[in-house]
Each structure stands twice: as C-alpha cells, then as structure tokens.
Amino acid sequence: MLSIGLVHYLTLSTLLLCCGLYVMTIKRNAIGILIGAELVINAAAVNFVVFSRYGAGSADGQVAALFVIVLAAAEAAMAIAIFVNYYRVLATIDADAGDMLKG
Amino acid sequence: MSTPDSCDRRVFQAEDRATRAVRGFTLLGAIFVLVCAILAFGATRVSGVAGLLAGLLAAGAGGLAGASLLIALAVRFREPLGRLLARVAFPIFMVAVVATVFFAWVPALLYEEVDRLAGSVSTASGEPRQMPLGVAEIRSYLLGSCGVGSAWVATLVASLLWLLQFGLVRDLITVTGIVVFVSLVAMFGIWWERKVAGRIQSRLGPMRVGGWHGWAQSLADGLKLLQKEDIFLSGADRPLFYLAPYVAFVPALSLFSVLPFSAAWVCRDLEIGLIFILALLALGVLGVLLAGWSSNNKWSLLGSMREACQMISYEIPLGFSLLVPVMSVGSLRLTTLGEVQANGFTSWVAFASPFTLAAAVIFFIGTLASCKRAPFDLPEAESELVAGYHTEYSGFRWALFFFAEYAEMFAVGALATILFFGAWYSPLPAAWGAAWERGPIWQRALHGILFSGPLWLIGKSLFFVYLQMWLRWTLPRVRLDQVMFACVQVLLPLALMVLAGNSFWQLWVLPQSGLARLANLVCAVLGALVLVAMLAIIVYARVNRRRLVGSLVVEHLPGA
C-alpha cells in the first residue's frame, strides 16, 4: 500500500461523490444542498487531475479541472443569488418550502 | 512581635509561596535524578532498541531534573538574580539579537558547503559522490581539501554536515527559524506599535519593563497572557471556538514558508508563490469568521461578518494590483519577481510605469483592509463592537490573534517590498557591488549590508509596517458601507484600469524605450520625493517634538 496509485485517488473521489450525493438528497437547508453539490463537483475535479497525472501525462486534465473550478464558482454565485430571492419570497431557505409549483 | 499589618502579611504570603516553590522544585528535581539514574542503569543492562529508548528517556529525565533544580535555585536566589538581571538584561538581549542574526548565516553557509561537497568528485574513486555521504567521507574531505587541522573538530563538523544533507533536517531548521522569526516580529511589532502610538500621541509608551524603553514589554505581556485563564463560554460552539485562533494563526505563519528573504533565503520557492500567498491571506479570514460565529456573542458575530465582507471585496482589487507586476515580470515565482529589481532604485517595479505605481498604492490599501488595520479595522472596532471578533477570547488564544495580525502585517509589507519596491536589493545599482559578491568574507558581508540581503527586505518591510501604524494612529475609522463603496466603486474600477493600462504599456510603450525610460525616471523621482517627504516629516517631528507639543505641556508632562 506504500506506493500510491490511481485507485487510491479514485476511491477518495468516489467517497466524496457519494457523500456529496447524500448531502444533496437529505439536507433541507438550501445552502446545505449547495455544499453537497460542491462536494460532487470537487470529486469530478479530483478525477480529472488524477487521470492527467497517471493517465495521459499531459496538462489537459488540469485544464479541465480548472474549468470545473471556474464553473463551480459560477454555480455557487448563481445558487446563492437564487437562495437570496427564495428567502425574500418565502422567508426561509428550507428547500421543502418551495413547493408552490405543484399546484 | 507586633501583628503584621495587611501589607506585611502579603509579603509573608509571598515568602511562603517562594519557600514552597523551592521545596517543590527541589523535590521534583530529586525525583527526576532518581528516575534518570534508574533508566541509565537499565540502559547499560538492556541492549537493542529498548536500551536505546531507556537511554533517551534517561537523558530526558536528566534534562528535566536539571531544569527543576535550576528553577529551584533561581527562585531561592531570586533577589540577587533579579538585581543582576535588571543590570545585564539589556546587554544580554542585544548580544542575543546580534548572535541570532549571526547564527542565521551559519546554516546558510553550511548548506552551501554541503551542496558543494555533494557536487564534488570523490578523490578516491574518481566518480561523482553518492548522496547521502557518510560521515567518514565528509570528515576526510574536511581534513583533506578544506584544511581543517584538528581531527576532533573535523568529526564534529562532519557529523553536523551529515545531518544537513537530508531535506527533512533542513526543513526542520528552517521551520524553527520561521517560527522564531514570526514570534520575534510579532513581539517586536506589538512593542513598536505601542511606542509609535505613544510618540504620535505625545506620550512615551511602555517605559518600565526591561529598562531601556520598555523593550521587554511584549515579553512580559506574553507571559501574562500565558498565565491567564482560558475562558470558555457555556453557549459557545466548543470545537470551533478552540479551533478558530489556530485557523487564524496557521495561515499567517505559513505565509513565511514561501516568502523569500533574499534569492537564497527561502523555505519553499514555489513556482506559484504569489497565488499561494494570496490563498493563505484569504484563509486567515476564516479564523476570524469562525471566532466570531462560535463565540455566541452578537458583537463578535457582527465583527466577523464585517471581516468576511471586507476581505471578500478587497481581495479582488488586491489580486488585480498583484497582476500588474506579474504582467511586467512574467512570473508568479516570488524570487523571480524580486530578482528583476536588482539594478537600483530606478529598476524597482513600482517605478516602471505610472500604472505600476498606481498598482502599488492599490495594493497597499488592499493590504490595509486585509490585515484589518485602520482605517479598515472594522472587525475589531472597539468603539462600536466592543472588541469585535475576539471579544470573548482571553489569554493565549487571544494572543494568537495578535500574533497572526502582526505576522500578516509584516508579511504584506514584505510582499509589497518584493513585488514593487526592490525586494532584497538596496537602492544602489547591483553593478557597483558586483565585485564584492565573490570576494572574501568581509566583502561579502559588506555586500550583504550595502547591496542585497535579507536585512534590506526586513528593513523595507518594517517601513511598510511603520506606515500602517502611522495611518492607524492618525485616521478615524471608516464605516462599513464606505468600506464597500471604496472597494467596489473606487478601487475596483481603478485596479481594472491600471491592469488594462499596464497591458497597453507592455505592448505599446515599452518597446519605445525612450518614452518608457522617461516615465520610469519621472516615477522614480516621484517615489523618491514621497519617501523624502515622509522622512522629512519624521525628522521634523523628532527634532521639533517639544515645540510641536508646546512649552507648557513639556514642563507639565515628563518626557513629552
């Protein structure tokens, strides 16, 4: 186990992905859901970097991870803007409260 | 015998306590001596790892025994010792400072020696040496080619050098050095701030502790803070409350691990050093935020929210202003950014163009905000938020926030110096001192003082620290909405314009060397004038300090 390989990193990223998924499923606080999404995105970014290091040996994976980080930041900004609006309308950020569209 | 009055009783109690302390520490020392003896005896009998362990433990117990007995002795003879210390403490302190500065060079020299050794060719086999070298090999090298006479000295030095081959050992030494340096900077900064404040406010500042101008005040404060109760609030979020001071302090300390003190004096010369430093500056805020939130105090919460708003906003102009020298130099490596400024005053990045000069100003304002220094000290605004985010902290944890603040102040000063103001080079052109750089040791030392070296970086950084103090003790505090206004509507557009202007400069003006040269000269003269004006103000205030205060008050207040 002393030499670290692809599998070690992939295990970690899988764990991050599943934790993020779980957080996204069960948290009712909208910001909690955002946190779960960040975890999932980060798991993907880890995979990009790891494959670039162990797979192709080029910088392409890192470029992809860079885009992932940029898009994650954009997503967070958007999400928080939406939450602010949500809060303004419903006076809570409980995601379950936003069920006005179900008719 | 008459009954002692209350004052005498207090003295008696102190005596009693001292006697008990002497007795206790003597007893402790005796126990440790005993333990040491038993372990040492065991170590001689048992072989292998257990024996080694026992030997090590015996050495530890011996050290503790010695320490206890020394403490007992010190308490027993505290009065003559105190008198002696009061007389010799300051000379000792100065000698210690000089010795520290001197010994800081020694590891550097030794590293150099080791590297040369590793690169050299073995005399015996004629092949390149293999790392790590054996002690015997180094010893023979020292005895042979270095002209070390005594075999005993050669053995000693060789074993030292052998240790220094390993990166881990070097890192340990460097990290210890950094921690010591940061503590010294913080303690000096706190003392200096109080002295500067005192002078600005026509008073003296600390004068008592240690004799000369209260030089030991920070030391005494530190000891006091260490003894204080570590207060914890029942309503606070316990883990976060305990964690927060470290979250604030560790990034501030880590800053120094990538900060070069000169081209060679750097712990880790990262390729992305600048971004790393930005990241660490941003991380430090989290400690403040956590401290405020976990204290369960509304003032603290307000303070930490202010800090978060301020930091998030000011990071943007700060980052843009940093991009300007990066664009001019074309590197994110801090040593590269510094090395382009070797050729004297006019080669400093700040004076390269009007845009870099503006970037330097924006950077300085941004660092004021990111270090929570006045006029941006809203997170700890004492007249509004009691003490802001550290309202509920006491003792050592509270001191950690201060250590972090002063370490950060120095670090951003150093960063400004490295990026804009000539890094570790003096204002004199390097060409003048080129001959001395490779000369004998005294010439090299003189070169280090006159032309380039850590002393220049430290000196210039301290100047920026002084500037921050000057502002703090002069200006009122701005309001939160004004902080945001200044950032979003003034600094940010300005920074963007500077960035755009600098790229224009790089593309169009720089190739026309005459124009660029002219602008460079104008900027340099401007900068020099500002510096001279500042120095003139300082000198004027110093010379006329009695007149500025007024004859009446001089008679009235001592030493104003």
Binding site: L2, S3, I4, G5, L6, Y9, T11, L12, L16, C18, C19, G20, L21, Y22, V23, K27, R28, I31, I35, G36, E38, L39, N42, A45, V46, V49, V50, R53, A56, S58, A59, V63, A65, F67, I69, V70, L71, A72, A74, A76, A77, M78, F83, I93, D94 | D237, L240, E271, I275, A279, A282, V285, L286, L289, L290, W293, N296, M305, A308, C309
Partner: protein, 172 residues
C-alpha cells in the same frame, strides 16, 4: 514513502470532511467541513504536481466557502438548526442511493485495469497558460462568457425587488 504518508493524511482529512458534511447539522459546521475537504483536496493537487490548481482551489474555495458561511449565518438564525433535520424516510432513501452508488462505483473501479503510474506531466504554470490560450482557447473564452453571464444574472436575481422602491429617486 513520505508521499504515501502525506496522501493518507490528506485523504483522511478530505474524507473526514466529506463525512462531516453529512453528519453536521449546523450550516456553519457543514461549511467548515466542506472547507476541510476542499483544503485537503488542494493539498492533494500539490501532491499530484498540480501546484497552480491547488493554489487556485484554495483561493476560489476559501472565498466561496466564506460567502456560503456568510449567507448561511445571515439566512438562518443561530439556534434553529433543528428546523432543517431530515425525515427518516429521506435519510433511508438517501443512504440507499448513495451507498448503492458507492458500492457500484467501487466494484467497477476494482474490476478495471488501470494503467500503472504514468509519466509525471510537465504541467508548469507556463505550460498550463499556453495550453489555455491555444488548444483550449474556445472553452476558455466560453468560460469567461459564462462568468460574465453569471455575474449579470446573479446581480439581476439578487437585486432589490422593483416596485417596492419608491420615492427616493432611484428606479429599480
């Protein structure tokens, strides 16, 4: 060997942070756990030789998490974390889904033949930058357009509600 030790430490912190996000009830603690994960991942990037990416991750996410915490505090009062506790059925469903995914992915991962440690990439900042401005120019520009759109969109969404603003000379 030291690399392995470092990997295990950082990975443990990252995994611990992720699990902490799952367990924590208070939004601030969740954000802190997220930060621990992201910081550890940044350190893993350093370990993988992607220094630039690690530093960027620290900057972007430190700032990002900060914002999340700030909004978390602003929009939820301190004592009301219990309001957001999930229901039992949700927990079971979430656990099933994510545990199933974990099991499936792990199974696939263990079955796959992965290439053994390839050559270390020469991904210096310079290299990365030139790749961004040559091969990946279009995605790069697209990303900047996306960021611009997000900036405008976020500003539009979070603007003060029009119509409620009267009489002060500002038109919403």
């Amino acid at each position: 060997m030291s690399e392995a030790a470092m990997f295990y430490v950082f990975a443990a912190v990252a995994a611990g942070g992720a699990v902490g996000c799952v367990i924590a009830v208070s939004i601030v603690r969740m954000a802190l756990c997220l930060l621990a994960t992201l910081g550890a991942v940044a350190l893993l990037y350093f370990l993988l030789g992607a220094d630039f990416l690690g530093a960027i991750q620290l900057i972007v996410y430190a700032g990002g998490t900060l914002v999340v915490i700030v909004f978390g505090i602003m929009l939820t009062s301190q004592g009301s974390a219990a309001r957001f506790l999930p229901r039992r059925g949700e927990v079971v469903a979430g656990l099933l889904v994510s545990a199933g995914l974990l099991a499936g992915l792990t199974a696939i991962m263990l079955r796959t033949e992965w290439p053994q440690a390839g050559a270390a990439s020469e991904a210096s900042v310079l290299h990365l930058g030139s790749r961004l401005l040559s091969t990946y120019l279009v995605p790069f520009e697209l990303a900047s357009v996306v960021l611009l759109a997000v900036m405008v969109g976020a500003a539009y969404l979070a603007r003060p509600l029009a119509g409620r603003r009267t009489g002060s000379g500002h038109e919403g």
